[in-house]
């Protein structure tokens, strides 16, 4: 979280304007002109900081057209935190111009209330039953469940657990991908890890990304309150974005409790490989898969070898790497809905990479990426299922039904 002028200036001054980010910024590579590249966002942030330019609508547009994918950050020779400068500029814009009305309703009205979120989930599920809301802004949506995951499933009570973890169930697992949640419970149970369900609610990333620091902090504080008292050795997530956000709580809120909570957070694949340990799969999963690296997992949390190690522990499964597996899928939270055309272009490139592998299924570690990838594959008439890493491991343990994809691709 960059907040003081000094912190912002430090990062702006580190930018040598070398332009190296033109090689990797997915938005720039689609749009082609300088305002859409990381270098420009850094320079604009600097100009706004020094009062050379106002926090205008146009500046806001340019800052909003950033995926926060950190491709630039990983590539930058000077380690400029472009993503944090963008977040800072967005937050300053909100301070001056307020939130757009639609964002305000969603961020301040719905996200902070678990009840209202549940209601939204139910309405979405009902709409889908009536044949509506199968897609939104050109993007195919997953099936919503009328009841949230935490109302339907309870972790088993283990006799002699080796460790106890709190499982932070993110919104997407809560309302759409129950199969991921089931797999997390099963995989942890198989490996003698006691699971406690943390009172699930929005992690706050949508608010932070929109520049709404107030709501982001409100949500973070609430989650810290409910996580800090759980007697859990670690806190695990199945969502790359939630994971990165929870790890930010220390910086976002300050204070011992937030730091202590943040330090205990681990992505499920990291936890399985490094902390809890995991048994190899037992049942063959004869599938050729390719793996997409979520931005918030690979660059956000440094987790990229771990999911592959898990896949390597599944008998019968073959991993074929796609070219540029770590380029953003283009969803980037609400970006996909606010910038549908641009998001689709970035997605198309990703689908092309997937196709090149001839894999019969796609694996990833983030439900948002999953939504985007599934939509992109369906859009091209490809019948490839998308799984979360843990779902395949659960399948191999024999604890998940094997809904295998058709034999041939296309």
């Amino acid at each position: 979280m960059l907040e003081s002028a000094e912190e912002v200036r430090y990062h702006v001054n580190r930018c040598s304007k070398c332009g190296s980010c033109r090689e990797v910024c997915p938005v720039f590579l689609q749009e082609g002109s300088e305002p859409w590249v990381a270098r420009a966002r850094v320079q604009l942030a600097g100009a706004a900081l020094e009062g050379q330019l106002p926090f205008s609508r146009r500046l806001g547009e340019i800052m909003d057209a950033c995926l926060l994918c950190q491709a630039c950050v990983a590539h930058c020779p000077n380690g400029v935190r472009v993503d944090e400068l963008v977040l800072w500029a967005r937050a300053e814009g909100v301070k001056r111009r307020g939130l757009a009305p639609a964002k305000k309703v969603l961020l301040r009205g719905a996200l902070p209330s678990r009840r209202r979120l549940a209601l939204l989930g139910r309405v979405a599920a009902l709409c889908q039953r009536a044949g509506l809301l199968k897609s939104f802004r050109g993007r195919k949506l997953p099936a919503f469940h009328p009841l949230p995951f935490t109302r339907l499933f309870r972790p088993a009570k283990l006799e002699k657990p080796s460790l106890t973890v709190a499982y932070f169930v993110g919104c997407m697992t809560q309302y759409a991908y129950h199969q991921t949640g089931r797999a997390v419970l099963k995989v942890l149970e198989e490996n003698s890890v006691q699971v406690l369900l943390a009172g699930a609610g929005c992690c706050g990333m949508p608010a932070l990304a929109a520049g709404d620091l107030k709501t982001a902090r409100q949500l973070a504080r609430r989650n810290v309150e409910s996580l800090k008292n759980l007697e859990a050795d670690f806190i695990v997530t199945d969502c790359a974005t939630c994971g990165e956000m929870l790890k930010l709580y220390g910086r976002l809120l300050g204070g011992e409790a937030a730091k202590e909570v943040a330090a205990r957070v681990q992505d499920i694949s990291y936890f399985l490989v490094h902390t809890g340990g995991f048994l190899k799969g037992k049942i063959e999963v004869p599938l050729v898969v390719t793996y997409h690296d979520p931005c918030h997992l690979k660059r956000g949390q440094g987790v990229h070898a771990e999911p592959r190690q898990i896949l390597a522990g599944i008998p019968g499964l073959t991993l074929v790497e796609m070219p540029q597996s770590d380029v953003c899928c283009g969803l980037a939270g609400s970006f996909g809905f606010t910038h549908p055309a641009l998001s689709q272009k970035i997605l198309k490139a990703k689908v092309g990479s997937i196709k090149a592998t001839k894999a019969r299924a796609v694996v990833t570690g983030c439900p948002s990426c999953r939504l985007q990838l599934a939509s992109g594959l369906a859009g091209e008439g490809l019948d490839l299922p998308v799984f979360h890493t843990v779902e395949l491991l659960a399948m191999s343990y024999g604890t998940e039904s094997m809904n295998m994809p058709p034999k041939e691709m296309e």
């Binding site: 580190r14 332009g19 082609g32 305002p35 320079q43 205008s56 500046l59």
Partner: protein, 463 residues
């Protein structure tokens, strides 16, 4: 430009090119106010033409109205060539980015100016050919920018620089006339060498809209060695011996003690801290000949006092050796936030003398200067590591740069090996060419650009 007139011009440009290709909001303009240097300048409008005809239309309008035009590629230039003149039209050429032809029979490529250098590298490679000019910025720099600056790179010693690969050009002149010069032949003795004139002209004589580039057969393989020397003079003697033995390395890079320390602090890969110079030497060619060449180079380095020579045996070892050199840029900025990268160049035999002179200048002005670069062709990159928010240090840096230029010239060298003169070195041009030399260049400029609208202020200063 006045506000009313500005609006009129913007509208005219929109009519010529369409709305999507003209940018005029203050925020968009700000994004075109810089290049790879620390300079800024505000343009009045930015256009992104897609064809030669559109470029010509813009230039015609600009010359009729007397508005300066600043051609621009990726904006990675290190001498300020693409930094806009106040009130100018920036001509962003990156939308013209087609590779039109890779001709394997005539061994050439025809490209538009906005093609990114590395894309041409890949296209040539997949046709079994090779486009050697390799500025370190090649993953983002454009061919147009490379031609305008006559870009070089580590391969300069063996393969030459951009100039050596430009067979022909299509150029739009200031008034909108389209000139085609050179052609598709390696030999061309017909009339003045206009192609050669436009190469390195930094956008001051015309706008390159198409280029015919020479390709050569791809070398079969390469091999890399590293040699560490206690004294810079020993490294220089080793270089002379290697070249004297008839081996021309495809790269011959030097890192001085300051650079080595920066890289070691950054990577911690066990670089020696008790030596004055590391040489990285790469040879390429037929696999059969290479190991013999590598052995010979290793022997010559040892004979001239290398304390250690390592020859990469595998691809991984090769990457490991190059890792130190590739990390120089990020490594040196860990020391201070701002780096000013110069490219003073001297005849090869004077490299040790220039390094000694720069070290003396660093001491005199209490500055940290990391020296690295292409020792094989005498092209050094002294990088002044400073903090631009420290005015006293910046003043000392400015004085030091002037002395470095003077030292390079006194050693029979040039102000710039590959970055061009731009704005940053304009005040020193006369030191190198003298009055009559600069006057001759000015005459060429005035003949080709009588209205003085093409990138004014660059090379000559004082717009």
């Amino acid at each position: 430009m006045k506000k009313g007139k500005n609006e009129k011009i913007v509208n005219n440009l929109r009519r010529l090119l369409g709305h999507g290709k003209v940018l005029s909001s203050p925020e968009d303009l700000f994004c075109y106010s810089y290049d790879g240097t620390f300079l800024y300048g505000a343009p009045a409008v930015v256009v992104r033409p897609a064809t030669t005809r559109e470029v010509a239309a813009v230039l015609k309008l600009a010359s009729a109205e007397g508005i300066p035009v600043v051609p621009r590629g990726a904006g990675t230039g290190l001498s300020g060539g693409a930094v806009p003149v106040e009130g100018s039209i920036v001509l962003d050429l990156t939308a013209m980015d087609r590779i039109l032809e890779i001709d394997t029979a005539d061994m050439l490529a025809v490209v538009e100016p906005g093609v990114v250098t590395a894309r041409l590298h890949r296209a040539a490679e997949s046709a079994g050919l090779f486009y050697p000019p390799d500025p370190s910025s090649s993953n983002v720099s454009t061919i147009g920018g490379n031609i305008a600056e006559c870009a070089g790179g580590p391969r300069g010693l063996k393969y030459g620089v951009t100039r050596d690969y430009v067979l022909g050009l299509e150029v739009v002149l200031a008034g909108g006339e389209v000139v085609v010069c050179g052609g598709r032949t390696v030999k061309n003795a017909s009339g003045y060498d206009l192609t050669g004139l436009f190469v390195g002209s930094e956008g001051t004589l015309g706008v390159v809209t198409r280029a015919v580039l020479r390709l050569i057969p791809r070398p079969e393989t390469r091999q890399t060695l590293r040699a560490d020397f206690k004294a810079i003079e020993q490294a220089a003697e080793a270089i002379t011996a290697v070249l004297g033995a008839g081996v021309v390395p495809s790269a011959l890079e030097i890192m001085d003690d300051v650079t080595i320390r920066c890289v070691e602090n950054y990577l911690r890969i066990g670089l020696p801290l008790d030596v004055e110079a590391i040489l990285l030497i790469e040879v390429d060619g037929p696999a059969a000949a290479l190991s013999e060449q590598a052995r010979l180079i290793a022997a010559l380095c040892e004979e001239h006092g290398a304390v250690r020579v390592r020859v990469a045996q595998t691809k991984e070892e090769e990457a490991e050796l190059w890792r130190a050199r590739k990390a120089v840029s990020p490594a040196v900025v860990q020391v201070k936030p701002t780096k000013i990268s110069e490219d003073a160049t001297v005849p090869r035999s004077r490299v040790p003398a220039l390094i000694r002179a720069i070290k003396e200048i660093a001491r005199k002005y209490r500055l940290t200067i990391a020296i690295f670069g292409h020792a094989g062709d005498g092209n050094l990159h002294p990088n002044l590591l400073v903090d631009k928010s420290d005015p006293d240090e910046m003043a000392r840096a400015e004085a030091a740069i002037e002395e470095i230029f003077k030292a390079a010239l006194a050693l029979g060298g040039t102000l710039s090996g590959e970055h061009g003169i731009g704005l940053l070195k304009a005040p020193f041009l006369e030191l190198e060419y003298g009055g009559p030399g600069v006057a001759t260049m000015r005459k060429i400029k005035e003949t080709l650009d009588p209205y003085g609208i093409l990138n004014p202020g660059k090379i000559f200063g004082g717009s």
